[in-house]
């Protein structure tokens, strides 16, 4: 962990940000795959908190949004259009409903984790 973040040099902040983001990015990949992230959630949370203190909340949010969009627009959608080609409309609907359920549970799952961590 880099100390004195607020007073750190710009270069330090940049590389710290990149590190935090790559950790988060890897965690997201794991979550999207339905796996547990390798890194501890506590560490991830601390990293995010620090980045926000450095005034880079907006960039982090944008990157997160982009990552999610990529997952939904590409991986999720492609998977569904492939499945759609092989069945009737009800089959497609069933696949979409399942995909939504999974996607939704990812979000809910992480929300629960947060509650546990912050002792709510």
């Amino acid at each position: 962990m880099v100390k004195n973040l607020r007073t750190g040099s710009r270069l330090n902040q940049e590389s710290y940000f990149d590190k935090v983001w790559s950790q988060l990015d890897a965690a997201l990949s794991a979550i999207f795959d339905g796996r547990k992230p390798d890194i501890s959630l506590e560490e991830l949370y601390k990293g995010a908190e620090n980045v926000c203190r450095q005034g880079r909340a907006a960039i982090l949010a944008q990157k997160l949004q982009k990552r999610c969009k990529e997952h939904v627009a590409q991986k999720l959608r492609d998977n569904l259009t492939t499945r759609a080609a092989g069945g009737n409309d009800v089959d497609t609907l069933r696949a979409v409903v399942e995909a939504w359920s999974t996607w939704h549970s990812r979000l809910v799952c992480l929300k629960h984790l947060h509650r546990t961590l912050s002792g709510n």
Binding site: L44, A48, C52, C68, L93, W100, H114
Partner: protein, 357 residues
Amino acid sequence: MRWIFYYLDQSFLLHSRELPVIREMGLIQFRSYVFSDRSLKPKILQGVCDLFAADRGAETSIMADSSLLRSAIELLHNLDVYTSDFEPLFIEQSHGFVSSWAQREASGYLASYVENSHRLVEREVERCGLFSLNRSTKQKLSELLDQTLITDQEAVLLNQTDIIGLMRSRNKVALKLLYGLLERLNTGIKLKTAFSNYIIQDGSDIVFDQGKEGDMVIRLLQFKQELDDMLAASFDRNEELGHTLREAFGHFMNLGRKTASTWGTDNPKTGEMIAKYVDMLLKGGWKMRKPGEEPLADEDAEIDRQLDRVLDLFRFVHGKPVFEAFYKNDLARRLLMGRSSSDDAEKSMLARLRTGL
């Protein structure tokens, strides 16, 4: 993702108008990239409609799946595309379904059509509740059903021959269902023509039945009773249909026809027959009971009841003088020959006549 960015949420994102709050983000993305996908969207929507068709029993190649359908509707609500994308398509396809259904069913018996129509409406309403469809959908569906089952099939519903057939066979249940359907659009009174024709036809048959003149009044009493029952049980005591009943009844009661029994005149026979009936009652006929009936507990009440029934009939007769002539004649004979069964009954009857009924 929420938990990690709880800090982000609280400190920054909630105040930013450009970046959506994270918990909304997942939803918006799913809607934008999955639901709105050009190849997926029509299939998703049609899939939902196909499941409804299966649930309606209209589609035999697809298995009904209630839990999938319920989940799908919930998804449509979550993505906020229910009203914009789903409802118009659902209503359109429902229209197709109900139209073909009506075409098929309307070609059968009227009694079956009205019964099955009621059941269809019930099931559609039930289905709306079962799958949590919006009130707006239920409303549109209800209007669609009224239009397709009732308005578009008015010729079938108001077929005079069929309606009179139901009335003649005393099918109170079918008549009630028919009236009920028409009343959904406040058009129950459209039954009045058939009702009127039926009453006049069958009433005239009784009055001009030359072989059974002795039974005329009893048959008329019975007929009146049945019509009153029909009005109450099937037509919800509809005021205008009640008016139609009285008008039609009064019409045939005063019809005349030249027959042998009217001595070549076309005077209505009804007044005379009622007078004779009253004569029979006052001679003790009111005591007569059908086999198996209990002995009368209150004789006075019974006399009054029977006289009231006859007078109810008598009110329809226009030619009161004819009745009076016969009545006076019969009264005199009863008193002279001591054939009257009850002085009180005689007085009661005279009182009624005096007050002008």
